[in-house]
Every structure is written in C-alpha cells, then in structure tokens.
Amino acid sequence: MTLHPSLSARLFATDDRRLWWGLGAAALVLLVVIPALNLLPTPGSALHVPNYVVTLLGKYLCYATLALAMDLVWGYCGVLSLGHGAFFALGGYAMGMFMMRSIGARGVYGNAELPDFMVFLNWKELPWYWMGFDQFWFAALMALLVPGALAFVFGWLAFRSRITGVYLSIITQAMTYALMLAFFRNEMGFGGNNGLTDFKDILGFPLAQPSTKLALYLLSALVLGLAFLLVRFVITSKLGRIMMAVRDAESRVRFLGYSPTHVKLFAFTLSAMLAGLAGALYVPQVGIINPSEFSPANSIEIAIWVAVGGRGTLVGAVLGAFAVNGAKTWLTGAAPELWLFLLGALFIAVTLGLPKGLLGLWGQIRRKEVRDA
C-alpha cells in the first residue's frame, strides 16, 4: 500500500538511531552475506556456509516472524494467546495442501486427483475443502484467511464477553488442543498423524534443490523484514498506543470511548494472519506438517521465545526466537542427554534474572557503559 508521506515518516522516525543501524546490518547479513557465503566459497572452506545452515536459518526466520506476531498481541496488547501455534499450523497446512496437490500423479499410487493417504484410506473423491488448493494464489490466500477468520471469530466471541488474562490463555489453549485432536483424526482428511509430506516441488522448483532452499530462505528473510515494518507501523500508530493502554488499564480505555474489544480483535487477527504466513513459509522448508504443530506445548514455547528475547520490544521477539531455537539445535546435538536441563535452566534464569529479556540485558550493559564512560 502507498503510505501517506508523513505516515511513512512516522514509521521510520525513531529516537534510537542504533536500532536502524542494527536492523540494516542484520538485513545485510541475512540477505547478502549469508547467501554469498553459501554460493561463492568452495564447500569445506572455512568461510563457506553449508546448505543445512541455510535451511536451518530459514526455519528460524519463520519462527522469528511467528514470534513477532506473538509480541504484537502479547507484548503490546497484553493478550497472552497460548493458541498461536494453531494459526501457524493452519497456514502451514494450507501451503502443505497446495504442495500435496501439485504432486499430482507422481504419488506412489499414481493417482492424479487424490493424495496418497486418501488413496489407501479408500477415499473416492477429493473432499470439498481440498478444492482450489491446486492453485497457488488460492492456497496462499487461505494461508492468511483461514487463520485470520478463525482468530476473528474466536477473538470476537472471547473479547466481546470480556474474557481476559489467564482465562483467555486457557481457552486459546483449549482451541489449539481441540484442533490438534481433530487433525489427528484420519477422517478429517488431512493425513492424520503423518500429516502432509512427500512434497516434490513448489511452483515447479524441486524442493530438494539447494537453490530452491536458498530462495525460500531469502523469501523468509524478506517476509520477516516486511512483517517487522508492518508491526512497527501498527505499534507506532495511535492504535498502537491504544493497544498499550488496553494492556495497562483496559477498563480505563473504555471510559475514553475506545472499544478494547475492537482493538484486541484487530491485533489478534492481524497477528494470526502473520502467524499463518510464517507457517506457510515454514512447511516447504521442513518438508512436513502434522498435527503435533498444534500441540499446546508448541504454543507455550512461542511465548517463551518472546519472553526470553524481551516482551514488548519487537527486536527482542526476533532475538528470542533465534536464541532459543539456536540453543535447541546446538544442545540436542552437543548434549543430547542434558539439553533439557540446560534449556529449562535458561528459562528459569531469564525469568528470574532478566525480566526484560535479553534485550533488557543488552540495555543494562549499555547503561553500564554509559556510566563507566
């Protein structure tokens, strides 16, 4: 959309110039340096970034987008959703369904119309809700609309009846839990426990090829950047300030004539759509989507990323997503027997020692420097 000049001005105007330098640097590294190091140096050389790191980073980038979405609704609007994994997964399923359809007759049973799991569960024709997913534009649209619609309906019900705090968190958890059980059912026609897998290619580009993976990685990086700008645009608007007001004193906002219901609904729906987008990018990179993505534990982890990075600071959410998942990747390989201890300790340490998250820590260090200087 074309921004009113002063709107865009507002978006980029900031008291903290460091932020923009940092973001610029990050963008440079993600969009230029890493791809270059992946393509140019010969494999094995010290500088070379191997393909698996690229796919890994691609995955993290999707998580980071998801964390951003979470930060918008939790960090700024004070709505702790324990169901955001559901929106992520729904977006993923939408994309998965597209890639499933585009396998076509290359499936093991060579059925051009039906995905394999339907063939051997004796499905005769494609269920109606699979219609249209052979079109990319449709799938992409659904990846946004389905989570958005669910969030809108659910949020409307919940916020209208003024369900807040823990109660909201728990029913969002109930939502994702119910969806998980539902998607586990093979009758649902989403592949049950195995979910959607065996993808061949996306838009004709074979997923196995490193170049495709690199492209997906770049796309994820781009989406993360745009998502960041979008969310920042929202939170720097007057609406953003109203969100914070809702977070801090919801009832007071009502007496000012604003409707917290609408504000929350907006944040929740937008956030859900972002989550869906992240999911849609995530699935082609990991090559599988299955109901365990809906599991309540996953949704709780999203909140943890945000908390670890620093709630209510967009950068923190991204940082947290990278830190926690990086730690996971590293520890599950380096200390398979101990990693849960370390991760658990990390969460406790952060909540006790760094109530403002890693970003807070960074802030403290900076203030210290200022004092010492």
Binding site: H4, S6, L7, R10, V234, S237, K238, L239, R241, I242, M244, A245, R247, D248, A249, S251, R252, V253, R254, F255, L256, G257, Y258, S259, P260, H262, V263, F266
Partner: protein
Amino acid sequence: MLDDSFEVQVDEPAGPGVPAAGSILYLDGVSVSFDGFKALNSLSLILAPGELRTIVGPNGAGKTTMMDVITGKTRPDEGDVLFDQKIDLTQLDESEIANLGIGRKFQKPTVFEHLSVFENLELALKADRGTFATLMFLLKSEHRDRIDATLARIGLADKAVQRAGSLSHGQKQWLEIGMLLMQDQRLLLLDEPVAGMTDSETEATAQLMLDLAKDGTRSLVVVEHDMEFVRALGAKVTVLHEGSVLAEGSLETIQADAKVVEVYLGR
C-alpha cells in the same frame, strides 16, 4: 412542557411518570446490590444542563457505584438512567456512553503509566475512535495546539514527554482532569478530584471546576469529602446515604439539616 413530558413518556422505558424534561442526567429509582449488600437503594437524581453539582456522603454511601451505573460499568438491578432526556444508559456499554459525551475521572487516578503525558492526552483527544481511523491517525497542528493548551491549563507543559507513571499523585489527578478536557464532554463526573492535593492545588482545581461550569455547555458532578472544596464550589449539594438521597440543597441548608448532621457531619 406538556408535550415535552409526553415525548419523554414515549421514549422512556417502563418507569414512573416523573418527567425527565430538560434534564441532562436523570436517575430514577436506581437500585444495585452486590451479593446482598444494597449499594444503591432506589436512588433518584436530576441534573440540569450546565449545572455544577457536588455530591457528599460517608464511605459506602454509593457515590462511586452511582458513577459506575451512569458510565455503564455496573448494570442497575432496577430503575431508569436517562442521558439528555431520552437516551437509556442502562442499555449501553462504557465506550458507547463515553462517546455520548459523558466523561469520568476516577477516585484513584488512573492514567496510562507506560505512555507519556502527551500521549495520554492524545488518546483522550476528541477524534474518530474507530480502529482503522486510529491506525491511520495523524496528529495535525490544531490537535497539537489543543493538547499544548490543555497541558498549559493543567500545568504539565514542562512534563509533556515524561512517562505518566513518574508523575506525583496530584499531577496524575490533573492529568486525568486534562484528559477529560481533551474529550470535551457534555457531562463530567469527577470522583474526589482533589484527594491528595495541596491547598493551593485544591484552590486551583476549584477554580478550574468553576471555569468549566461557567459557560453552561458542560454539566459537572463532583464527589468530594473536602468541605473547603465543596464550599469553594458553592454549588447545589446532594447528600447520599445508604444508597439513596438523604438531603439536597445549598451547603448551608444541608449543614443545618438534622438528619445530615446525624449521619454525616456528626463525627
């Protein structure tokens, strides 16, 4: 007059025929109870447009509950609450009521601690409250001028960029009053506006109240314990007791009233 009352009769939901004619706020037979405790007991009160009214009463007399009922926070068990003669407030929620032109200042000053003083006023600023409108909202110079004017009026001009959380109690009171001004509402409900203020601050507040009432476009309901302040306002006084009106009149008359002295001044 007659057809006025008739008109009201028509729009009024089931309620006794006391005409709300010419009132800005009209409460009749309003009762509220929490777990058996009757906070309001068929309270009736009529406020004329442009009127300044002070309400006094011991703790638990139902002053705050009355405000909750008017502003839609609490639904009355029975009784009518009409704004501007015909709008039934009991059917509306807080934000709708606020948008009708009823502003409220809380007993315990509640401002948005994480926002700056300026931003607090900006949120209060009279403007389209719609979600997308606020998303695309741009602060125009006339807005800025209004905010600056208010800042000056409530004496926080030098604190504009400070986080509201860092203000003193009295300053928060002022800020909240300032937010009321920004909304420029037709009916202002102020719950103990001078609590925790120094005498000079109190005087200034009293002056402010009088200014607001002067031009007759706004009506004010001020709940206050501070008799000096009440006297300074010099307005009609309503005494609440156990959820209903005990006495009404000038400060002198009610101070002469035996019942009042017994339940209230008789400390």
